[in-house]
Every structure is written in C-alpha cells, then in structure tokens.
C-alpha cells in the first residue's frame, strides 16, 4: 500500500491525532510511575502533582474526540484510515480511565501517608505497577509500530497482573484478620491494587485495538482471566 494520501492534509490530520495519543500515553505512563513512587515514598507533594496532571489527560481526551469527529465528517475515512480513527477514539478513552485510576491512587496516598505502613504490601504494589507500566509502554509502542504480535504479547501478560492482584487480595485479608488496626490502610491499599488491576484491563483493551487496527478484526479467542477474588471467602 502507498503511505501517503493524495490529499496531504488528510495525512496531517491523522498524524496530529496520533501525536495527541502519544502525548496522552506519555502523561499516563508518568502518572502511573509517579503515583506508585508517591505511594511508596509517602510523597504527598508528588501525589498532588499526579492529581493535578490528570486534568491535562482529560483535556487531551476531549481534544482527540473533537479531532476524530472532524476527520470523520470532513474526510469520510475508509478501511485502514477508518480503523485508525476508531481505534484512536477507543484508546484515548482507555488512557483517560487509566489516568483516573492513577489519580485515585494519588488521593489515597495522601491518607495512607499518615498511617503505619502495612508490612511488605508496598513492594508488591510497586511490582504490580511496574508490570502494568511496561505493558502500557509496549502497547503504545505496538500501536505506533502497528505491531500486532507485540500487542498479542501484551494482552497475554494481563494474566500476571490478575495473579498479582489475587495474591495481594489474600494478603490484605490476612492482615485485616490479624489486626483490626490494619483495616483502614488495607481497604485503601486494596482499592489501589484493584485499580492497578483495572489499568491492566485497559492496557489489554488498547492492545486489542492495535490488533484490530492491523488485522481488521478483534481477537476472537477468550483471554485467560486469572482474577478469582470474586469467589474468595473467609468463612469456614
């Protein structure tokens, strides 16, 4: 296929939308890593920055939506162009949600920093965040390179995130059963862990958009879901 459109303004439109996505992606990656760092270091100032910067991510999402609507109205994109604008719209939605989860992590950090740390859970959350952030980086790289194989790999990695979340869930339960004073911090930490697990789902959705963009079809095979916490009980 030829790369450039005969109407070069169409290429510029598509490029500028994709630049917005990359800018959003960069901000979201930073939000995840800064959010995790703030939590670990009990750095309320950094947590404040994460909360503040979420507004930038939200604004970019709106800008993407406006631009996509304009391109659809003005250019009637088809085939690969159509899939590009549709996937851009979905990916920006996913990125915006991930940004919200990072912001929520930052909010809870402010509360948690005034409490006793619950031993060892900090490191587990840090590992989980790191994994999600690498997935995010790879998903965005896969998007830019139109690399469906890398996207499929990212999609498969979400199982690890789910497994980490399961382990953390049990760990929090144990701490709470041991000592009721752990309940407040563990509730906050659990929401953080759940939010990171949800970030993984959104990254997976981005990876699926890349596969759709490249192949024109979303993957049909049912993805392994390893989150089993819905069935955990402390009774008996």
């Amino acid at each position: 296929m030829h790369d450039a459109h005969i109407a070069s303004a169409f290429d510029r439109d598509l490029e500028s939308i994709q630049a917005l996505i990359m800018k959003m992606g960069g901000l979201v990656e930073t939000a995840i890593s800064d959010g995790a760092k703030a939590l670990e270091m009990r750095d309320t100032e950094l947590a404040g920055t994460v909360r503040k910067n979420d507004k930038l991510i939200d604004a970019l999402e709106e800008q993407v939506a406006t631009e996509v609507a304009r391109v659809i109205a003005m250019r009637s994109p088809t085939a690969g162009d159509l899939r590009t604008v549709l996937s851009v719209l979905k990916i920006s939605g996913n990125l915006e949600r991930v940004g919200d989860y990072a912001k929520n992590m930052a909010k809870r950090t402010t509360v948690l920093s005034e409490m006793q740390p619950v031993n060892s859970t900090g490191a587990s959350i840090r590992r989980m965040t790191k994994l999600v952030n690498v997935m995010m980086k790879d998903a965005l790289d896969a998007y830019i390179q139109r690399d469906a194989d890398l996207a499929a790999d990212v999609r498969a990695r979400d199982t690890e995130v789910d497994q980490m979340y399961n382990a953390l869930f049990r760990e929090f339960l144990t701490h709470m059963l041991e000592d009721p004073r752990n309940i407040t911090p563990c509730m906050h930490l659990h929401f953080i862990a759940k939010n990171i697990e949800r970030m993984g789902d959104h990254v997976t959705s981005i990876a699926e958009q890349v596969i759709y963009l490249v192949h024109g079809e979303v993957p049909e095979d049912e993805r392994d879901k390893a989150d089993s916490t819905s069935y955990v009980s402390t009774a008996g």
């Binding site: 296929m1 030829h2 790369d3 450039a4 459109h5 005969i6 109407a7 169409f10 009637s76 994109p77 088809t78 085939a79 690969g80 162009d81 159509l82 899939r83 024109g216 079809e217």
Partner: protein
C-alpha cells in the same frame, strides 16, 4: 427457529447468480483493456464497479449488454452468461439482449421527443403492448418505478429534454425499465447531477434491486458504499478484489484496494 430458517432461505435465494463472467479479455486494437476477468454478479442486488480512470470498469460493464459490439476495433473473448445462457453465442440477437439488459448512461440522454414517447418507444418496438391502453399502463408503471411519475404526469406531452438534469436521468431510468429488463447497467449515472438529484437516484437504485439486478460504475466511492451490496475494484484491466461492500470499505484484502479507497492512488 422458523424465522431463522426463513431468513436463511432468503439469504440463499439472494445469493444466486444472475451473470457469470469467466476469463473475459477485451482488446481495443492492440490495447489489452480487460485481463482475464472472472466474476459472478448476484441476482437482485446492486454491484458497484470502482477503480481509477482507464481501469476498465466501464469497458467491462459494456461487455454485459454487448455495447462493445458497436466499436469496430474492440474484441471480446471469454464467456459471459446471463442466467446460464452465453450472451455472445451466434444465435443471440444483441438488440433482444439489450432489452433484457438495459443501460443508463453518464449524461442523461432523453430522445428529443415527449416524455411519453421516450418511455413508450422501447415497449413499442419490442411489441410489449397490444394497444394504447396497455402502452399507457407501461408508461405510468415505468415512470412510477423511476420515482418521477408525480413530477411529470401532468405534462407527458412536454419534451423530455425540458426536464431538469436529475429528472432527465430518472426519465432515462424509466425508459430503461419500460422494456422489462432483468439487468440494469448504469455507467456513472449521477456524475452530471447535483447532490439532491444524486440522492434521489441513489434511493431509486436501492428500490430497483427488489426487481432488477443492478450493476453500477461509479467514480464516487462513497456512492458505491451507499448503494451497493457487492463491490468490484478494477485496476489496470484486472479485477483486483470483489466482495461484500462493507468488507471492501472496512477491511479490504488487497493493498491496492486499500490504497485506492483511502485516496492514496488515483
């Protein structure tokens, strides 16, 4: 369950083939205009031929009612069957064939006669009406079918050339269907029309597929996407890709199709 079965049957019935082309080559003198084209055109559906100028789509369209016979240097080889009958067989009269396979052209070309005469001419020469009353009925039915009856019923004696461009084109469609054809070929039928007249003709085309097999050549890809169920993409005399219109416009197989429909090659 019963509904499912019915809709399955309908799909099966819709899938039948009206026109089969196999190994069709067309030469204009030394120029090889169509290169071994195979295609099955579906009954009672709209098939769009798209492709850049000079790709052979109009040439191929004109093979279907042997319009290329009228060009001295043009030579057609291969097989084209209409309902299983070889249309290039010796015993086929091209004039009779063209009554079965009607055609509408790029520029509306009404005869310099009254609106009534434009439509009644074909049925008259093919002996489709026994008397004036029957002919009147054919004219009214054809003009209604062409969605122009209400606009012209009070001035059937007025010249067809006095109508607006869009009305003239619908008159020509009415004229084409007056001989009760099975197939309607349309060679860029809207390229001389404004957007409103275009929308009216497109709406008409969509209605016509209830009764006719329609094959339309168009330069407007959006038009192909709007009116057709099947799309064939021609490039340099080859049929590059042929399939469901929604598939062609969302996820074409061939990179050349993708380049063309997304505006990357002219």
């Amino acid at each position: 369950m019963l509904d499912d079965q019915k809709s399955m049957e309908r799909v099966m019935a819709d899938e039948d083939t009206k026109i089969t082309a196999k190994g069709v080559d067309v030469f204009y003198g030394d120029t090889h205009a169509i290169k071994s084209v195979d295609v099955n055109i579906q009954n009672r559906a709209v098939t769009a031929f798209i492709g850049p100028s000079g790709c052979g789509k109009s040439t191929f369209l004109r093979c279907i009612n042997r319009m290329n016979d009228t060009i001295d240097i043009c030579r057609v080889t291969g097989d084209i069957h209409l309902d299983g009958q070889d249309i290039y067989a010796r015993d086929v009269d091209p004039v009779q064939l063209r009554a079965r396979v009607g055609m509408v052209f790029q520029k509306p070309n009404p005869f310099p006669k009254s609106i009534y005469d434009n439509v009644s001419y074909g049925p008259k020469i093919h002996g489709l009406a026994k008397n004036k009353a029957e002919l009147d009925e054919i004219v009214e039915k054809s003009l209604r079918r062409a969605a122009i009856w209400d606009e012209v019923k009070d001035r059937l004696d007025a010249p067809g050339t006095g109508l607006s461009g869009g009305q003239q084109q619908r008159l020509c469609i009415g004229r084409a269907i007056a001989t009760a054809p099975e197939v309607l070929l349309m060679d860029e039928p809207c390229s001389a029309l404004d957007p409103i007249a275009t929308a009216q003709v497109e709406e008409l085309i969509d209605e016509l597929r209830q009764d006719f097999t329609v094959v339309i050549v168009t330069h407007s890809m959006q038009q192909a996407a709007r009116v057709s169920q099947k799309t064939a993409f021609f490039h340099l005399g080859n049929l590059v890709e042929y399939g469901e219109t929604d598939k062609i416009f969302t996820n074409p197989e061939d990179p050349r199709t993708e380049s063309y429909i997304t505006g990357r090659i002219g």
